[in-house]
């Protein structure tokens, strides 16, 4: 899908509260262009709770409900079932949650909704820490990354939780990763998720300039480096089909290139980076 085919209608109003260069703000804008006006957004506590604006204002042109942290997938299940009970089968009920609300506190509700085959789309915009509370480690924080609760860097023995395969193990209708730095791939995946019935999950890598300590103008660049280095793989799994990569760079760049422009990895030594590179290479072999 080409960006020229995407609607010029904006469902994200001007004047939202996203930080300059926020990957999550940009992702919402483009996701809604595909999902359209028959969409309801369910939002647990996350950066977007602020970005969307406070009462009586709102940044979205579609219905939005803010909900407690741990339960967005359950609330979405309730909404979808209410619509179905009323014979309304054409509304996209979409969870829009951060990594804390997905990998950590909301994982149980997510698992429950996936197991029940709820016809909802769960989107996790992953900025790899609790950014809204001021950069604390989540189980999506990669090893090495500085946060305020991992002041010496997240230890090497930790691994970022493999949320893609955790969701895949529930045999849902569709699971994908995406990144707004690759808009064609991003659009295609939201289009697919919109049209497939059943439980859909999209894991977005979402840059956070203040949390990753990158310049706002490098927000898209850092996401591209994550993909070009194989740190973040663009992939999907549709129904019974095998997981497949949807974008493979001609040549993967060293992870060092990705780390270099981020302040959160500045303290890492060569030995640490080498071990991370080995992990990335090992994981790539599994998918290539």
């Amino acid at each position: 899908m080409d960006f020229r085919e995407v609607t010029k209608v904006e469902y994200l109003n001007q004047g939202d509260f996203a930080c300059p260069g926020c990957g999550a703000g940009l992702s919402m804008r483009h996701a809604l262009k595909i999902l359209g006006e028959k969409t309801v957004i369910v939002m647990p506590a996350c950066c977007w709770s602020i970005i969307a604006g406070g009462l009586p204002t709102t940044a979205l042109q579609v219905p939005l409900i803010h909900v407690p942290f741990a339960v967005s997938a359950a609330v979405a299940s309730g909404i979808k079932n209410a619509y179905l009970a009323e014979g309304k089968d054409d509304i996209n009920v979409v969870v829009w949650a951060g990594d804390g609300g997905t990998f950590d506190i909301g994982l149980q509700a997510l698992s429950g909704a996936a197991e029940r085959r709820e016809d909802i789309l769960y989107v996790c915009y992953d900025n790899e820490a609790y950014m809204n509370t001021g950069i604390q480690k989540s189980s999506a924080t990669p090893p090495g990354a500085w946060t305020t609760t991992t002041p010496l860097g997240n230890p090497l023995e930790y691994e970022k939780k493999d949320i893609f395969n955790i969701v895949v193990s529930h045999n849902p209708a569709y699971v994908a990763t995406a990144c707004i730095a690759y808009p064609d791939d991003f659009y295609k995946k939201f289009e697919k998720a919109k049209n497939i019935k059943g439980f859909k999950f999209i894991h977005l890598l979402s840059s956070c300039p203040p949390g990753w300590k990158v310049d706002s103008q490098d927000s898209l660049k850092v996401m591209r480096l994550a993909v070009e280095s194989g740190v973040f793989l663009l992939m999907e799994k549709e129904g019974e089909l095998e997981t497949k990569l949807t974008y493979i760079p001609d040549k993967f760049i060293p992870v060092k290139e990705y780390f270099k422009i981020q302040g959160r990895y500045r303290h890492l030594d060569d030995e640490f980076i080498k071990k991370i590179q080995e992990r990335i290479d090992k994981r790539l072999k599994k998918y290539l």
């Binding site: 009462l55 219905p63 409900i65 909900v67 339960v71 609330v75 979405a76 309730g78 509700a109 197991e115």
Partner: protein, 379 residues
């Protein structure tokens, strides 16, 4: 109209069926599990046209109810004990969002240690939430109260918690008069809220509110509670007109000339009724004030009905550690501005299902001169 022998839990399920909720998210927990088993069977057989969501926890049951109600449909769930405690955060959110969800709580103790039997700690500790609370004595009252709960909740846009004592009411067969569906539909028309998650009229719900706005929204909730007395009265009047059964916020049983009045909520009232009968035969003028509505707490009605009583024994099945029995606190508060202040005895009659027999109640009245009104009284 027909009469049937039903378990308390079955009576609840029948009432829910006739109220026609569109979504029922639920998670099993003793002693309310029967209710959701019967409801899921009704849904599977097509007798109840609703979506039954088999959620993975009570936290998600409350959350799915929140979602369904936000989408504008009548919503019911049931829980008990630890389940209600696990729901706590969402129960707050439901109040702030002004969602008229009806929840049935099968009163049960909360651990540690494990205990599946009845006391009222689970719901009494949720009293500050902003949910209406009603305690039932019989299966018939439980049936009727479910219908009334939807009526009142939807008029006020406040959630409603109906309580039945675990096992004593939930697992006991009683005769229940079942009304016709037509009469129930007249009493309880389809729920049509003005604002809900509607793609044709998009709105944002629950976004951050600063102090001034937040404060005024909380004040609105209290204003609705103050208005609730009129709504409840209107509900009881309509209910009586259609179903020929009269209800009030509280029930006075021989309180008019009583010197000793027992204050009690829930199924224990039945035991106290028998004790009071026997006490009267012995020449002791005893009576009962049955608390039906605990939220709103009907202070005015309570003080009025106790105006002739000199001694009041509160039979608590929950306790606020460090102060007193939960009902006792509320009762004492009610008397603060009243001229007459009776002696109020703060009795913890049962916790964790400790049995209460008729003789226990009779002994209390007979030994009232030996009771210390300044202390929490234990058996």
């Amino acid at each position: 109209m027909k009469k049937e022998m039903l378990l308390g839990s079955e009576a609840i399920a029948e009432a829910v069926k006739m109220a026609k909720p569109k979504v029922i998210p639920a998670y099993p927990i003793t002693p309310q599990t029967h209710i959701i088993e019967v409801l899921s069977e009704m849904v599977d057989k097509g007798e109840l046209k609703a979506k039954f969501i088999r959620v993975e926890s009570e936290l998600s049951a409350a959350a799915a109810a929140l979602g369904a109600s936000s989408a504008g449909v009548r919503t019911f769930t049931a829980t008990a004990s630890h389940g209600l405690a696990l729901m706590h955060e969402i129960l707050h959110w439901i109040v702030g969002a002004r969602l008229p969800i009806v929840l049935l709580n099968g009163n049960r103790a909360i651990g540690s240690p494990w205990n599946i039997w009845t006391d009222q700690t689970d719901s009494m500790t949720q009293r500050d939430l902003g949910w209406l609370q009603l305690y039932c004595e019989t299966a018939q009252e439980a049936f009727d109260s479910i219908l009334q709960a939807f009526y009142v909740a939807e008029k006020l846009l406040l959630p409603f918690m109906v309580m039945i004592d675990g096992f004593i009411l939930s697992h006991t067969l009683e005769q229940v008069v079942l009304p016709s569906q037509e009469d129930v539909d007249t009493f309880l028309p389809e729920y049509k809220p003005e604002y809900f998650l509607n793609v044709d009229n998009p709105m944002t719900f629950g976004a951050a509110a600063k102090g001034d706005l937040f404060y005024s929204l909380r004040k609105d909730i209290q204003k609705s509670f103050e208005r609730s007395f009129d709504v409840i009265e209107e509900c009881h009047r309509k209910f009586n007109l259609i179903f020929k059964r009269n209800y009030n916020l509280i029930e006075n049983i021989l309180t008019e000339d009583a010197e000793i009045v027992f204050v009690v909520a829930g199924a224990l009232t039945g035991t106290v009724r028998v004790a009071v009968e026997q006490l009267r035969e012995k020449g002791i003028k005893a009576g009962i004030l049955k608390i039906r509505y605990f939220r709103p707490f009907p202070k005015k009605e309570i003080v009025e009905s106790l105006k002739n009583a000199n001694k009041i024994i509160v039979l608590n099945k929950s306790l606020s550690f460090g102060t007193s029995g939960t009902i006792t606190q509320e009762l004492k508060d009610s008397f603060y501005y009243s001229e007459k202040k009776p002696d109020i005895y703060d009795y913890i009659i049962s916790l964790g299902g400790k049995d209460v027999f008729v003789e226990d109640i009779i002994n209390l009245a007979e030994n009232i001169d030996n009771l210390d009104k300044y202390k929490i009284l234990w058996r």
